[in-house]
């Protein structure tokens, strides 16, 4: 058995065209590039929020569409760009996922908020009382409540200020180290890609332009496109 977590083979979906790559277990993969490159589209294929028009995706060496969809989405959790919290309290949001699988235990709430650096007093807060940064952290904790093996993050900090970005990134770093979840992060921020990724994929116009170790991509880019992107993002 290979240690491939995901294998994408000749994927086409909207702008994404003929994309193939593999991702190993415990990898922290960052997909970056300019907007409109197809990064989010690609990310949504990992837990079947969308399906490719052509091509095959393997997850743990089995075709993705052989898994039960709710179980797959529980195991491969997605954090959306906007938090989109459900009406009610923070706890209502945290228990939404586990309750679907009869796995919620009330003492989980405090631990989950701990992951995202919020005190247990927040459990009973109504979501309308939260700031933007807190909403995004609750959204992250809500996905973590399902105990995912893979975490998909779709520009999770795009609407946040510097201070909140730092807090969320810190939470994420701690998570991958302590809980050993694999990470696929979509971002247009080079700084974030550098801080969170071990490997990177640079995309432009639906195609993978470069794929490799993050350090190498940043210090020694091979393609003109990536060189230009790095220059314009002043790395």
């Amino acid at each position: 058995m290979s240690n491939h977590l995901f294998e994408l083979s000749q994927i086409n979906k909207r702008v994404v065209s003929n994309v193939s790559f593999t991702m190993k277990e415990k990898e922290r993969l960052v997909i970056f590039g300019p907007s409109g490159a197809g990064k989010s589209t690609l990310l949504h294929l990992f837990n079947r929020m969308e399906d490719p028009d052509a091509g095959v995706i393997y997850y743990k060496d089995k075709e993705l569409n052989t898994y039960s969809i709710p179980t797959l989405r529980k195991e491969v959790g997605l954090v959306l760009q906007e938090p989109h919290l459900f009406p009610g309290t923070v706890e209502d949001n945290l228990k939404f996922g586990p309750s679907l699988f009869d796995e919620w235990s009330p003492n989980q709430g405090e631990k989950l908020l701990g992951y995202v650096n919020l005190s247990k007093e927040y459990l009973n807060k109504d979501v309308t009382e939260l700031s933007g940064g807190q909403r995004q952290r609750v959204s992250l904790a809500r996905t973590l409540a399902n105990n995912p093996e893979v975490l998909l993050l779709d520009e999770p900090t795009s609407s946040l200020d510097e201070q909140n970005i730092e807090l969320i990134e810190h939470d994420l770093q701690r998570l991958v180290e302590e809980e050993h979840v694999s990470l696929v992060l979509v971002t247009h921020s080079m700084q974030q890609a550098k801080r969170l990724g071990t490997t990177g994929i640079y995309m432009e116009e639906g195609k993978i332009k470069e794929h490799g170790q993050m350090e190498k991509l940043l210090s020694d880019p091979e393609t003109e496109e990536l060189k230009q992107f790095l220059q314009s993002n002043s790395i």
Binding site: N47, R48, M49, E50, D51, N65, I69, P70, T71, R73, K74, G77, L78, L80, E82, H84, L85, F86, P87, F96, G97, L100, F101, S139, R142, T143, N146
Partner: protein, 260 residues
Amino acid sequence: MERDIPTYSLFLLIVFVMIPFTIAYYYQLGLKKDIIWSTVRGTAQLFLIGIILTYLFELEPIVGIPLMLSVMITVATFHARKKGKELPHVFISILLGLITIELIVLAMWLGFGMISFTPEEVIPMSGMVIGNSMVAMGLVLERMKSEFEQSRGKILAALSLGATPSQASHITVRKTLNAALIPNIDQLKTIGLVQLPGMMTGLILGGVSPIVAIKYQLVISISIFSTVSLSAIIISLIMYRYFYNNQMQLLTLEEIKKSS
């Protein structure tokens, strides 16, 4: 004794029509044609239905009632369908919904001895139930489309956490039902206080004692209340499914249109 309105005074209704017409003319509302047309059309429709009803009332109930009910349900279906044209199978869903509701309510009325199986009683009562259910279904369809649009992010979040379409639509369906049922509940709350309900007014004008009129009104009001709730629930539970594909993925209205 049967009371009647003399024909000449009916013609004087034109004075009532002149009021909105004058307002529309004075403020240039662009509604003059609509006012004239709707008055003429409404009058013609009512006289036509009067002639049809006179004819139907003379038929055997077993022929006349199903005939008129079929016409009413078909017209109501065509009308309610307009609000959800983009959705697949909307016509058949409304049609079956209305038939089910009519059968249930008819069985209860007849079974509990509330009315007798005569066109004079079944048709006007059914008309009110079907008409109100039609409005409720239209409201649900319209509201559902906008709720699915507005709550798109929350539904995607629920799906991504492992929810099935039915679980992910829970909040949306609840909000849709709420919106469709609130006017109905409010209406029942103020019944008789703000305005005397149409049926009761008609019966009193026709010479029936107010207490008997109220009994009929109660039967029809409660029947409308329950059938409207039922029709809203039926159509919600059938239609929310079409906002998803078989892979538990949320569709946009454009995608739904394309797929149907």
